[in-house]
Symmetry: C2
Subunit: 192 residues, 2 copies
DNA sequence: CAACTCATGTAATGAGTTACATGATTGT
DNA sequence: ACAATCATGTAACTCATTACATGAGTTG
């Protein structure tokens, strides 16, 4: 029987985490909370129903464990079907999703803004990106020190994590350069 | 009376286009269609109701014109309140929205993939970005030739458009570099 | 004893996509 | 004649966020 596919991207995000280790819904929510999960986020309100669907499709199973509160704690694990669905999905071309970026949208109406608050906006954004970049670079340094040559093996989870981290670093650097370029343009125009 | 604010980002996207020139709902939909509108998209099914809301908030008005089909064509124009709301919004800090990126999510599970299809995926993505980059660069060249020094005046719509274009170029270049870096890593591992 | 973390669940709301619906004009 | 473009409107659906709801264990 062919493995059922989850259809939703969130389902694959969850499978991707469960492929590394079994986790509870709470732990999944913690990992999918900004900014820990590079480039995918979700709240527990979405995660729990999705897990129930994945269980229904036999892509994950769970073991009930003793836990606090009125509900039993469930530790979810990926099944063989789930792993097959996940590894088939990984190399399929990603569905194009629209790019929505509020800062760029604001930039498109920048000609209506006063110079001082416009500069303040881009300085604040530049600082945000500089901070995020610094944090990512620190993570990179510690990953490289800790894992060394394992980061060069494409079949290791550490390689995959490193690849996403490099994307984050590259993204933040691009954003920072762009913001600084805008700032320079605005300053130059103000000087005249 | 203080200007009502549209609350939705789409409302500001529409106001931003109407601040340049009056447009019909159809024209707005054409401009907000991928990939013409840099970094914001919408369909007419969302645009028409939003326009009605903006009319209700007195941020835009419309003139009915003769048009084909069962409905009268409406040409929308921004009001003084609309322009005020827009220029106030421009320099407010953007609300943080989650970054969702399916390719990066796939990359996080790349360790489960076979080398050949993984390479094919990133080569295809690299090509997509190279094409988009080439197209943006062509647009940039024609903009620079056509507008010249006006691109340096922050109070001109051309400057604002140029700024968003530069962001697009920077983004595609970042993506392309990252994809190529992943490809090189995968090729290197395969050679051994 | 108050606040925080752990832990799951549902419901309401909002944002976005796709599909359904109508119909005139223009170009092939 | 047929297809494409112009032109608006609504409804159904999916995805994501926020809020409501419960309650034990740990820390200060």
């Amino acid at each position: 029987m062919a493995p059922t596919n989850p259809a939703t991207t969130l389902g694959y995000a969850i499978l991707g985490l469960l492929a590394r280790q079994p986790l509870s819904g709470y732990d999944l929510a913690a990992r999918l909370k900004t900014p820990v999960g590079y480039y995918w986020t979700a709240h527990h309100g979405q995660i729990h129903p999705e897990l129930q669907r994945l269980v229904g499709d036999r892509l994950v199973t769970y073991n009930t464990a003793a836990g606090p509160g009125p509900y039993a704690k469930k530790v979810y694990a990926i099944t063989r079907d789930g792993r097959a669905a996940l590894s088939a999905w990984v190399t399929e071309p990603p569905r194009p999703r629209p790019n929505r970026d509020e800062l760029v949208l604001k930039a498109a109406s920048l000609w209506l803004a006063d110079p001082a608050p416009a500069l303040a906006l881009f300085r604040a954004e530049a600082e945000r990106h500089a901070e995020q970049l610094a944090q990512y670079e620190a993570t990179r340094a510690s990953m490289e020190a800790r894992y060394g040559e394992r980061l060069e093996r494409p079949d290791s989870p550490e390689f995959a994590e490193y690849v996403t981290l490099r994307c984050g670093i590259s993204y933040e650097a691009h954003r920072l350069r762009w913001c600084r370029w805008v700032i320079a343009r605005l300053e130059q125009a103000e000087a005249q």
